[in-house]
Amino acid sequence: MTIGLPRALAYHRYGVLWETFFKALGGRVVVSPESDPILIAKGESLADSECCLPVKAYLGHLDRLVGNCDYILAPRFERIGKNDEFCVRFWGLSDLARGTFPGVRILSYNLKSHRPDSEVSGFMKMGKTLGKSQIAVLAAYKKAKQAQLTADTRAGVNQRLLLDSPAIKVLVAAPPYILRDPAMGGTLLRLLAREGVTPIFPEACGRAGCRRASKATSQSLYWVMNKEAIGAIELLRPRVDGVILVSAFPCGTDSLVNELVLRREKRLPVIQIILDGQEGEAGLQTRVECFADILKERRRGYA
């Protein structure tokens, strides 16, 4: 039994959970390769032209898995709390996968509440589909949940260590599925490194902390991923030199939330970079260099 996991979107949040779970059940896990221009181009050809870049990438990843596994995992994510919703895109992922690849066996669960049983019952059902006993599934889920927690904690610690560096530090406020994808955030991170700027990811502050802190920027915000991306601004304000908001064209939630941040953040320098998968590197490089220069000058001014 081989389970395919698309290395896109929620994989960067729940990947360890999924991998550990299916491996603990005795399955073989195939993760699609890192994004590359060919994979993204394939995704673009499969998607509606108006879909956002990460969704196009998601379809590209699914395409790589088709034929290489018995099942492909494509869950639906609605919410993890009353006021913590996923972008409506995530509500449609399962149907999008099923509709774009008819005939492919899709494993799915529906994360639609903050109560733990929403996720557990979803995993129990997947275990049943795979023909495993309830006890084995529950044990695998527990183990997987623990592994994900450990991985999240470790990622947070690693990010916090970076905060002690004397270098210029920039909070890159974006969801992990952009930052961790070499074809999207990868170029930006490379350019930042070249300028000697240390990028800090929002996960340095922990997700729940970020979600609470996002209230300082927006009271009525209800999108989990955006809360987690921008909440860190409030928490890291004294410890970073600037903020880069990274968005993928045409991200629906960012269109509102990033605009609000740009209008409301008065103390830290902020720029917004929109990735559309078409940008020449030269344009991006100019903006990154420019921003890095400003941050360096500011430091010198205050020293």
Partner: protein, 353 residues
């Protein structure tokens, strides 16, 4: 003290209902609908809104700016569903950054629950007792139902009327009554007389006219300016147009569970806002033998994009043509008209064949 002047964004002809509702809720304030939507509204809205926010946001901002210019100082907004739930906060910020002085009452999401809405109304200066508020709301709902029913009939039949002017006149008279109505009884009489007047219109309807169903995102469907008046173009081509979308439908006619059940399994889960409704309604049109479906949405509308693969599968399996059109603040009108013409020619030839 400065007189309170209330305003709200436009959508279709519902401004008439809001005008009456707010006049009843705030007897001492002045209620002023924004000027009708024009190209200028759209340009103002587009200039001050984020680039790729969905088009209704831009229309709202344009309406607000023109309302503020006309002297409004208390703006209302609501919000549910996908991005609409977060419109209010950013719109208020944009208008404040432009330097306008106003109060903003946002009845979005949790704030639309009765207790919270009542608090917001009180804070905005509505001093009516609860039963009077309830009566005003009841009248507004009644007007909405009457208006939706009348316009539903008009879409289906105006293309075949000997004199569409007569229909428009009845419609105008009805809107006038909506603006004046004092009691539910009066409103019911107005609805009844409107209904009778419409029934008396002579129609040249062929036995099997071309029929097109319109589905999609709510604002683009309900605000004709935002879709270049496509429904009127269809009607003038002698086509019977059906569209279930309206405020009454949104408030009382829809349920994700039912739409999923009636959606023929093309979607398994709710995909946000009206995505499942689009699929369920399309299937219903297909089964009732309609000749084609128009799927309208604003650019980048996520729920409708989520429904995309399902609609394409439905179109293929049920054998019904579906034309999908996206609108933003700068889509060309001629392009839309040409696509629609081609679509109409195609379904006409299909029917003839």
């Amino acid at each position: 003290m400065l007189k309170t002047v209330i305003s709200y964004p436009h959508m279709g002809n519902y401004a008439a209902v809001f005008e009456r509702l707010f006049a009843q809720l705030f007897p001492r304030a002045e209620v002023r609908s924004p000027p009708p939507i024009t190209q200028r509204t759209l340009e103002l809205g587009g200039r001050h809104s984020p680039d790729f926010v969905c088009a209704p946001f831009k229309y709202n901002v344009g309406n607000y700016i023109e309302a503020l210019e006309a002297g409004a100082n208390l703006l209302f907004q609501t919000g549910t569903g996908c991005r609409y739930g977060h419109y209010g906060e950013l719109q208020e910020q944009i208008l404040r950054d432009l330097g306008y002085d106003f109060r903003f009452a946002c009845l979005s999401r949790e704030n639309s629950r009765p207790s919270a809405a009542l608090r917001t109304l009180h804070a905005a200066g509505c001093q009516l007792p609860a039963h009077k508020i309830a009566a005003a709301l009841y009248l507004a709902l009644l007007s909405i139902r009457g208006l939706d029913e009348m316009e539903f009939w008009m879409r289906e039949n105006i293309g075949f009327a000997q004199s569409s002017d007569r229909i428009m006149a009845i419609h105008r008279a009805f809107l006038h009554k909506v603006r004046q109505a004092d009691s539910a009884a009066q409103m019911m009489r107005a609805i009844e007389s409107g209904r009778c007047a419409m029934q008396a219109i002579k129609l040249d309807k062929p036995e099997h006219p071309l029929r097109v169903g319109v589905v999609g995102e709510l604002y683009t469907l309900m605000e004709p300016f935002s879709n270049f008046n496509l429904e009127r173009q269809l009607a003038s081509d002698g086509i019977s147009v059906s569209r279930a979308m309206g405020i009454w439908f949104l408030l009382f006619g829809r349920s994700d569970a039912r739409s999923l059940q009636e959606g023929g399994g093309y979607l398994r889960y709710p995909v946000g806002a009206n995505g499942v409704d689009s699929v369920a309604q399309s299937l219903s049109y297909a089964r009732r033998g309609y000749d084609g479906i128009l799927h309208l949405k604003s650019f980048g509308c996520i729920p409708e994009l989520n429904a995309g693969p399902a609609l394409r599968a439905l179109s293929k399996r049920e054998g019904i043509p579906i034309l999908q059109m996206s609108f933003d603040t700068h889509s060309g009108e001629v392009g839309a008209a040409t696509r629609l013409e081609a679509f109409v020619d195609m379904i006409r030839m299909r029917k003839g064949a």
